[in-house]
Symmetry: C2
Subunit: 698 residues, 2 copies
Amino acid sequence: MLDALFQPRSVAVIGASSRTLSIGNRVVRNLVESGFTGPIHPINPRPGELWGRSCVPSLDDVADPIDLAVVALPAQSVPQALQACGARGVRAAIVHAAGFAESGPEGAVLEHRCVAIARDHGMRLLGPNAQGVMNADPSVSLNATFTFTPLRHGVVSVLAVSGGMGEWINQHLWRAGVGIRRYACPGNAADIGVVELMDAMAGDAGTRVLALHLETPPPAGPFLDVVARHRDRVRMVALTSGRTGPGAMAVTSHTGALAGADQAMDALLARAGVLRLEDTADLVRVVAAMTTVTLPVGRRVAVLCNAGGPGILSLDAAVEQGLEAARLDPATRRELERTQSPFAAIGALTDVAATAGPEAMADAATALGADPGTDALLLALVTPFFVDCDAMARQTVAALARGDKPAVVALLRDPRFESVASTLAAAGVPVVDHPEQAARLLAALARARELRRQAAERPALVPLDRDAILAVLARSVPDARGWLAAADAYRVLEAAGIPCAPWGPVTPDGPHPPPGLGWPVVLKADVSGGIHKTEAGALVTGIHDVAGFDAATARLRARFPGRPLLAQGWIDGVEMLVGGIRTACGAGLVGVGAGGVAVEALADVSWGLAPLSIEEARRMVDRLRCRPLLEGPRGLPAADVEALAALVVRVGALLDAVPRLVELDLNPVRMAGPGAGGMAVDVRIRLAPRGGESGGVS
Amino acid sequence: MLDALFQPRSVAVIGASSRTLSIGNRVVRNLVESGFTGPIHPINPRPGELWGRSCVPSLDDVADPIDLAVVALPAQSVPQALQACGARGVRAAIVHAAGFAESGPEGAVLEHRCVAIARDHGMRLLGPNAQGVMNADPSVSLNATFTFTPLRHGVVSVLAVSGGMGEWINQHLWRAGVGIRRYACPGNAADIGVVELMDAMAGDAGTRVLALHLETPPPAGPFLDVVARHRDRVRMVALTSGRTGPGAMAVTSHTGALAGADQAMDALLARAGVLRLEDTADLVRVVAAMTTVTLPVGRRVAVLCNAGGPGILSLDAAVEQGLEAARLDPATRRELERTQSPFAAIGALTDVAATAGPEAMADAATALGADPGTDALLLALVTPFFVDCDAMARQTVAALARGDKPAVVALLRDPRFESVASTLAAAGVPVVDHPEQAARLLAALARARELRRQAAERPALVPLDRDAILAVLARSVPDARGWLAAADAYRVLEAAGIPCAPWGPVTPDGPHPPPGLGWPVVLKADVSGGIHKTEAGALVTGIHDVAGFDAATARLRARFPGRPLLAQGWIDGVEMLVGGIRTACGAGLVGVGAGGVAVEALADVSWGLAPLSIEEARRMVDRLRCRPLLEGPRGLPAADVEALAALVVRVGALLDAVPRLVELDLNPVRMAGPGAGGMAVDVRIRLAPRGGESGGVS
């Protein structure tokens, strides 16, 4: 896949220049200095040499076949150059220039022309506005970018939608001594997109870790497919930007299209099993660590230190990161008591004291590494001048290698003991500068392992009568904004097997109230989907008899002339909300949260990607801040949590089965006690305009 | 203050040793290599030289007066050495050895002996288990520690209760090119304590920034006094450990004594105006920045970048850190449009693009620096090879210097452009490696400024009839755990001017219900303070007539024989809780949060230190997650927020005025609508045992 881009047999540089501060010069230099194993052809009308390679006046003067052309020309000259490439049989082209779709409508036209030319010739296009690609595989050794970080071969591939972030990550990996495998920044991604690049990069046998920088969620289906294909072999980590309102506005002016984009990104990455990080420095540390360490199987961490203060800080930070303080096995305690000085502290924090020599430290690492209640070790080490710290590092590394627990080290070293850091690093033990960094790193590695486990979960099988749902939709007449009439919305829920409070339409000639509701009854006017019924006065509760019902009917008829009325039986229970929206990436996003008028102000909602596994639905409920309330503390009513999770799953299945459905809001649902289920008591459903089957929220 | 410790005229090292890997050798070496300006006397029975200084057999052989003795002997030999020091007129001694109070009861006895010897001779003692002190003042140049970071003179003083953390911070300041002024790690602090050291370090004219590492909250009164004395001149920052349960257990086994210690630490530091940080790397960056930058007067930040991706990430991180995206003035926009290329993006994120040269970058910095809607600049810069980045750095620095806004730079540089970092740093512009670090740094600086402003607030003047309160307490008979009878608790509130729901005792012969309560009435059995009334069935609500009252009385009498009964008028309103505890550091800690049985499970409480200013009480309310609910959204009842803040202030004043009061819990208080006040409807008060006037929670 994309072989002409990542493994070209030859490269031509169109716009190669002798001006050393031009991109057309730098690209040639980078190709030469990276040691590209194939021929490099600088194309320049003036004869001469560039970085030791002979310039040729045009592509036609190159005898070899040309797999890859790097186009280092201003935007206006690009179409003609691509035309020439196509005619010459070039298989892939990288366009560096800006001034295309990202700059406005004129640029968009130009970009469209470029793509058309490429497609006409069966040529693939990276860009425009692309920084380029690298492939550090020694058999290729390609640096087709204009940036400055030298190529060092390793197992990390970097794919960044922002060239600036690509270079930022790559440079810091380089400073950390971590080599890369493939690298790509696709710029405007007019032809070759993020998902196709991911496939080509993760699919490369030399890639072990894939670092992503993303700005908008990629198309959900293809993204999930590609990740699923490679995640057993390749560890994937993503940094995203445009997370906040102002940040998203900076990514694109179409803020409307980004409603829920951050939740969608989060849910999509979680579903895919891609570890999301929000800090560039953490990303670099996690990626570096992932090239060597085993992922911890759980969250129980033991801290081993030779100075109490840094050890305590490490334990604090670990707990704050959601790790757990290990409870040592009595046998581990005995072993530590046997091997350590009487001054040593023993426990989740084992402080062997600064005086501990190489043997004592290694013995402690061995004991903690063998402890059955410990999943990972966090070492917080200083280098006392009176200890042979080099020997300590060597023996500790050997001790850790004998166990199977991952370990990370926060190391404070005397410049004279820099060798301690290199001994640890050479053995694949991650070394960081501060206790909190070690804690965040371990927490990220534990999370990566959890995500891998969760990625194996399958969406719950929900029998859904899709035909019945579509039949309701076919008969419905949504309003101008796409909202269904309330009665139709309830019919959709019924067809989808989602329990609702009993209800019936209220008509002038029909029974009042409609039969089968019991008492008390609730009366609602079907106001438009965007309006809050309680605030609008469109809701009358606590109707206990026919007289009250008739009075309420008269009141709502007068207040909302012409609007349909609807009566509902009263349902008691803990108020929650369950809802869904379709995001711009095409995915259905399901939310569950504290419901009703009150707790809505608390914005306590968690999100997941449709379709959902039952395990993920349970985790969504468990993540809520209001989770303790569902247990019914202090005599309050408890909620049927399992039924709530099942409801969440079913809403996801509905959203997944009916692409036209773009918004769905069950608020509240009222959950009865454990085992007793729950019911939706109000619902709003919005459809995409006909013809726009998968239109997102706009 | 502590002159003999920080500015000794001469130093003797007892236990000076020729073994290079011993502390007694290293201390002499550090004294010599730091260039101590006074005489150094290694005390060693064997004649010879140590690091160029002649050893003398005993203190008596030293002709000069000796201000400071460094005792580098094992614990058992320390008392005898201190005796000799005292006899010789030594004014201060540092004891390095461990094996004292931190190691158990035997060590505690030894420590007590050492302190007694020192006091006998009017000699001050740092330690035992102390790492020592430094004073980089060129007129002293003292390094009386056994650690490895060279002395570099600057304006940052470092005071760490953990020697490991002191060295960790000091070493990283050194690596960051930041010099220090005074440095102290007091170990067990048996004589010279943290607060006295703070006074001596912040009081030194050469100290401009004081970095603290703390584990348990220092005594509140002295700490606040010392900080207040110096905070106008010295910026103070603190890192604390023992923040989490496991972390606190590692600090001390007396977890009971630490209940609320983290909240107390937080409230104490906030009240003092000391900036609290929870990440060592952030601490080092903030401390370094504080040596040069003006603090931003507000939270509005503009991002200036020459690569979009890193700029967007910076803006995201800034917003996530609680900063605000600046809204540029139209004049600023016009100026940017005039000076920048058409490809530049202009706004809270101003992206001048990689092609921007030195002038364009400087013009943008000038325009944003002059913008009236911007408080600080975050620059996210890369070093394109085709730009003269050195000139860009010089001109940008000059532009920033012409404005008065603080700026920080996240810089990605080609190793060839390391000079860009040094140009910025030399001009006092903080340079960090990543966008998120820059955002956290700016947010910390903005917070420091807010704390300084808040530190000027005065506790609200609350007229409190202390005599009336003490009279109630004098008549009361608390239970074995110190809980007051309910009637006495209400009387304390009344005497303190805290509004309570009308109440009266229910006696067999008295009126039933007691007069003046209105209907409905609530009946309560006075069960012990630790029991929850609703759960225990000790509460009957909704009593609407005398018959109901008598029935409820009979029921509670049967259920809680012998317990006093109490009737209360019904009060409606939004349920909150207000409470207070006295912590181990002696401070009263006041909490306000969502109240009642339900929301208690959400643990939505914010804390402040008594006595409180009305502004801080308002901020405590504003920090609550449930804050939006107090506005009465969607037709819900609103709460009198101002009355709630006043209630918080009054509880703080009560806690402050009556040291015997160790726990106070108004749960719930019910707040009526804006302007209508609120009342406590249930209260529990606990006193310290008599004689333990200021006893903390145990």
